[in-house]
Amino acid sequence: MMVNPADQTLLSALADATEKALAKAEIRLPPDVLAALRRAAAAERDAIARRELGNILENIALAEERQVPICQDTGVPVVYLTLPPDVPFSPALVDGVREGVRRATASVPLRPNVVDPLTRENTHDNTGVGMPAVHVMPGERLTVTVLPKGAGSENASRIGMLLPSQAGEIPKFVAETMLLAGGKPCPPVILGVGIGGTFDTAAALAKEALLLPVDTMDDYEQKLCDAVNALGIGPMGLGGDTTALAVKVKRAGCHTASLPVAVNVQCWACRRATVEVER
């Protein structure tokens, strides 16, 4: 199939930006997450928890010094594109992202994590059918945002179709998610909570909430965060004050007869980076 030159240029620019964004995200934590970890380490009262947080901070410094990924589970790439009005959505955009993921897998390097869901056969380049997931939103500039997502925390995520009368039960559902997860998702975690919409929207919102800066929480988010931290699960499930660094919430209108609630669990390595596409 012939690819027209304009598409080829766009594809190549998208690939460059995706590769850059993945390298940046995998090696260096965003400043708001790093600051939250430092605050937690300073406030923690439990000796084992302080040691765990100390290891995490040392690990972050070592990753930057050695220019290697923060965690060996380099995740699967979750990608968000913002498209300005003059860039129509086209297959070249997704192909560019896929090419960027393949390049980053070799250059960063990333662990080849993507397999067929049933045969479990590895594709060796972190792409697959529908993978990476590419989400498109309108924006002012053409940007690529990556959120590499590890499996330990993703596997602890939950969705609940609550009853409309159960809005008061949301803090319980969120805290219960962490109670069930324990140390498995590598706490201290950040929880993305999607409330409302439909079954699928709630999950998408929960993941998008993980893109929000963690240095501020509104009263509702703080209430959810306090309920989680009261559990005392602590870093790595070994006990302590710091179970969640933050809880971030996104909402959408929903059917009068439903109340979907999704909790997307994110380990302390909340890796995200945005790169503007050069064109």
Binding site: I70, P112, G232
Partner: protein, 180 residues
């Protein structure tokens, strides 16, 4: 306490919550490697060995990063290793009651801070590999460790720090949400 592999009865003295370092040869193994070892046998000498739940990133014969993976996935796959003489399991997140029972009088579970893959790799040298056909994440990598910083999560007497923390969390949860 500073531990060195091969491990012996010194691990029986450890108590959940103790902090230790571990040096010497260790072997990585995840789900697929456990299944292969159950079928074909353990490719290394298991007596006093330490098995590390880890799927590292390896490039040009060197460890790039090598942090621990979630150990609980190996709950049902671990007994044969302890029966064969493995003395320490290293990973993150703790393991199930069947493993706690199996460790009694035999060995310990050592927790390495999850996500600390650069820190771990800085204290490790790659020595070899078994079952490389399983792929980078699932192969058994032979690693020389130098003072890995670890916490005893489960001791050889049924002590389980993860379970103790979970029980407290459960009590907290029920007090807050189920007593209204």
């Amino acid at each position: 306490m500073n531990l060195t592999t091969p491990l012996g009865d010194e691990v029986l003295d450890l108590v959940a919550g103790d902090t230790v370092t571990l040096s010497g040869t260790i072997y990585t193994a995840r789900d697929e490697a456990h299944l292969r070892m159950m079928e074909e046998g353990i490719p290394f000498d298991p007596a006093g060995a330490a098995v590390y739940h880890c799927g590292p990133v390896v490039q040009d014969g060197r460890l790039v990063v090598a942090g621990p993976t979630t150990s609980a996935r190996m709950n049902a796959l671990t007994g044969f290793l302890l029966d064969a003489g493995v003395r320490a399991l290293i990973g993150k997140g703790g393991m199930g009651p069947e493993v706690v029972e199996h460790l009694r009088g035999r060995g310990v579970y050592l927790a390495l801070t999850g996500g600390c893959a650069a820190l771990a790799a800085a204290r490790m040298t790659l020595k070899g590999v078994y079952f490389e056909d399983l792929g980078m994440a699932e192969a058994v990598w032979v690693i020389e460790a130098d003072h890995l910083p670890l916490t005893v999560g489960i001791d050889a007497h049924g002590g389980d720090l993860f379970r103790a923390v979970h029980e407290k969390a459960k009590t907290q949860f029920h007090q807050r949400f189920n007593n209204r």
